[in-house]
């Protein structure tokens, strides 16, 4: 059951300022419409995880942890490893997050990160099989939102991909029926990367990397995930608003431009 929630209260004064600036293609914090806040990241902060990455995007901070374990394959893909993504909007990240099981926003976030990683085919799932149909590696991606300052989607996708890039797992051998952990440590081979670019929309204006105020004032959002060769592997419109078809295509092209810049910042060859 999805229920309309209250929109966060924004002072009318702030709203007016924001709209006036937007009509001149300017933003409250001085950024241009397509400008991202400073992106910083660090990897390997959680030693006990097979991989981890912490990404900061302005006032948003997301930690992605990767655990690789053994498990059963899905019945309809017996020759593939399993990828599963979960996201937690921790109550400590924002006064507006409440403790409890994942709500629709965190489920939508997790599923979008999942699609971005899975459909880009960056992980060769077929190389994660130990015993076809019986035993495979399960890659758990857990997105931990530590600080909510707008644009969780882009920060989470970046954190997940960086963490995967950083993942080193123990190889297992199967002797008889039992798997045995070897001392061999191998990286998770990545064949591609994924960068998502999200636009906030207010009226007829759209802008990248909404900060908290902009996110609360936005009527809708559009996210595109690009692989390193400029293909699209995930798209999601979020929020109550609507958008014209021509704007969707404009945003896609602008998104690809930004993806190339962001890829570079993350150390990936994009475009």
């Amino acid at each position: 059951m999805s229920v309309t929630k209250e929109k966060p209260v924004i002072s009318s004064v702030l709203q007016k300022e924001m709209m006036a600036l937007l009509s001149q293609n300017k933003r409250l914090d001085g950024r241009s419409l397509d400008e991202y806040r400073k992106i910083t990241f660090s990897v390997g902060t959680i030693e006990k995880a097979e991989g981890s990455a912490l990404v900061s995007l302005g006032g948003t901070m997301v930690l992605a942890g990767i655990k690789v374990e053994l498990g059963d394959p899905f019945p309809d893909t017996p020759n593939q490893g399993v990828l599963t993504v979960n996201a937690e909007l921790l109550p400590l990240a924002s006064p507006s997050f409440e403790p409890g099981p994942p709500d629709e926003s965190s489920i939508a976030l997790a599923r979008y990160v999942d699609r971005s990683v899975r459909e880009s085919k960056m992980i060769d799932l077929e190389s994660l099989v130990l015993v076809p149909g019986k035993l495979v590696y399960v890659v758990y991606i857990d997105i931990y939102v530590l600080d909510y300052g707008g644009n969780l989607i882009d920060a989470s996708v970046l954190a997940a991909v960086k963490a995967l890039e950083n993942t080193i797992m123990n190889r297992h051998e199967v002797t008889g029926d039992a798997p045995r952990k070897t001392e061999d440590r191998v990286p998770l081979p990545l064949k591609n990367h994924a960068v998502s670019v999200t636009f906030g929309m207010i009226g007829s204006k759209y802008f990248n990397d909404a900060n908290l105020d902009e996110e609360q004032a936005s009527e809708g959002f559009l996210s595109f995930t690009f692989t390193k060769d400029g293909n699209v592997c995930a798209v999601m419109k979020n929020g109550r608003g609507y958008v014209s078809p021509s704007q969707v295509l404009e945003m896609m092209e602008q998104g690809w431009k930004k993806a190339k810049e962001i890829g570079k910042i993350m150390g990936w060859t994009y475009g």
Binding site: P102, I107, G230, V235, R240, Y242, V243
Partner: protein, 247 residues
Amino acid sequence: MTQSKKPLIDEQGLRTDGRTIDELRPISITLGYLSHADGSVLYEQGKCKIISAVFGPSEVHPKHIELPDRAILRVRYHMAPFSTEERKSPAPSRREIELSMVIRNALEPVIMTELFPRTVIDIFIEVLQADGGTRVAGITAATLALADAGIPMRGLVAGCATGKVGGKVVVDLNDTEDKEGESDVPIAFIPTLNKISLLQMDGIMTRDEFRQGLSMAINSCMKIYQIQVNALKSKYGQVEAEPTEEQ
């Protein structure tokens, strides 16, 4: 997943169910299907069978979720356990939770909720049989149920999923095409406003293919919109003019 033995697109350019790349599945609409809901419809598209029902606007319980300036929407997208090849557990899955939200986001901009503050409009989408494209078929159905219930709307919303299947961009994917194809692009479009209120994509497409998919999706939504209009007009019919001497 049973791998289909037929190619997704054969040498004549026909799909697994014999359709051409821009052909929609047959659609059948029965308005006012339920007798207790304020508005309802039985909507069938190919093998998809969906019932959508609308109640409201009504008083909100619990009161604390009501909004002072508008009606809230409560949308439930749910698949019956027997709707899919393998039985699905009746408990709401993560997918159903996400889809309930994206469907609510697709309908909310057209429903004039500001006319009924402090009330709730309940929208149910029950998928009795699924065969690809249920979230967008659900939106098409819910729009009909909302109109049937007399809920004021800015326009009708029509939904359709296009995608890349067997290397070609096609419209209205069935279940096999959705599972085995290269990408799936569900969209919901409001023809009278020229706006998209639901857009998702998963799979992989070049940006050109996405552009093509978007344009084919909009054309298909226009066709589905026409079918919605015809269904509403023929159910409620032509009416004789208001008689002046008796009023």
